[in-house]
C-alpha cells in the first residue's frame, strides 16, 4: 500500500494505491490522524489505484468518515472499482458515499 497526500486550499486528497488490508491499514492510521492535527476537514480519497481491500481497510475508511462528520467535515471517495467496489456495495456503503 502506498498513500500520497496532496493539499489544496479547498481540500486534501489522499491517494491510496495497492492493497488496503489487515497488514497495511496500520500504516494508514497515522496518515489519517495527521489530517485532524492539521485541521483538514474536507477530504477526498482517490481510490482509482486501489487494487484490493478487506474489512480492516473498510473499517479505517468508515472510521475516518465518522470522525470527519463529527468535526463538521466531509469525506468523498472517487475512482472506486473492481474488488473494492464489490465490497463497498455489499456493505451498502453506496448509501453513504457517492460511488
Amino acid at each position: 500500500m502506498k498513500v500520497t497526500r496532496q493539499d489544496s486550499e479547498a481540500e486534501t486528497v489522499l491517494r491510496i494505491e495497492g492493497s488496503l488490508d489487515a497488514l497495511s491499514t496500520v500504516d494508514l492510521r497515522p496518515v489519517m490522524d495527521q489530517l485532524f492535527t492539521d485541521k483538514r476537514r474536507q477530504v477526498t480519497l482517490d481510490l482509482s489505484a486501489l487494487r484490493l481491500i478487506d474489512s480492516s481497510g473498510v473499517g479505517a475508511i468508515v472510521s475516518l468518515y465518522k470522525r470527519l462528520r463529527q468535526d463538521g467535515g466531509t469525506l468523498k471517495l472517487q475512482g472506486l472499482r473492481d474488488q473494492p467496489m464489490a465490497i463497498f456495495k455489499l456493505l451498502r456503503l453506496d448509501r453513504v458515499f457517492s460511488l
Binding site: D21, A22, L23, V62, L90
Partner: protein, 163 residues
C-alpha cells in the same frame, strides 16, 4: 437396443499450500487463489474469461478467512502453519483453511447491522455473502471450508441479438 453413454466429467484438481501464520503472506495466498479462481468457468480452447466478479468474491472471502486464521488461531502461542487446500472444478471452487491453533467459533459472531456503519466484525459477513457454502469444524485441526459455484454471466438480449 439403444445404448445411452453417459459421460460425467468429475475432474477436480487439488492445490495445497502450507503458509506460516503471518499477515505478510496474505498477498501471496490471494495471488494463488486468484489464479485458481480464474481456472473455473473457463472453456477449453477459448481465451481466458474476462468477467471478474466470481474471482473478486472468492478473493474477498478467502482474504477474510486468512485474516481470521492468523489473528485468532495462534494468538498468544507459537505460530504454526495454515494449510490451504484449493479444489478447482469446471464450475466451482472449494477452499479449505486448516490450522492447529485455538478454535474460532465464528458462528457466535453476530450479523452486523450495516445501518450502524460498523468498523469491525464484517469479515464473517463478507465470507457468508460471497460464498455459496461456509462451514467450520473445530478440532485438533480446525477446518474452515468454503465453496462457490460459477455461474456464467447472462448475456443481455440486446448484446445477443444479431445486428
Amino acid at each position: 437396443m439403444a445404448r445411452l453413454d453417459l459421460v460425467v466429467c468429475l475432474s477436480v484438481d487439488l492445490i495445497k499450500l502450507a503458509i506460516p501464520s503471518s499477515l505478510k503472506y496474505r498477498d501471496l495466498v490471494l495471488r494463488v487463489v486468484a489464479a485458481a479462481a480464474k481456472l473455473v468457468g473457463q472453456k477449453p480452447g477459448r481465451p481466458s474469461r474476462v468477467d471478474r466478479e466470481f474471482d473478486d468474491q472468492v478473493i474477498s472471502a478467502v482474504g477474510e478467512a486468512f485474516n481470521n486464521a492468523v489473528l485468532h488461531s495462534y494468538r498468544g502461542r507459537v505460530a504454526g502453519d495454515i494449510e490451504i487446500e484449493i479444489e478447482t472444478a469446471a464450475e466451482s471452487i472449494a477452499v479449505r483453511l486448516i490450522d492447529s491453533g485455538d478454535a474460532f467459533d465464528w458462528t457466535e459472531v453476530p450479523e452486523p447491522n450495516l445501518d450502524d456503519l460498523p468498523e469491525s466484525g464484517l469479515g464473517v459477513f463478507i465470507m457468508r455473502s460471497f460464498m455459496d457454502q461456509v462451514t467450520y469444524r473445530a478440532g485438533d485441526r480446525n477446518v474452515l471450508s468454503m465453496r462457490k459455484n460459477y455461474v456464467q454471466p447472462t448475456v443481455t438480449e440486446s448484446a445477443s441479438r444479431p445486428s
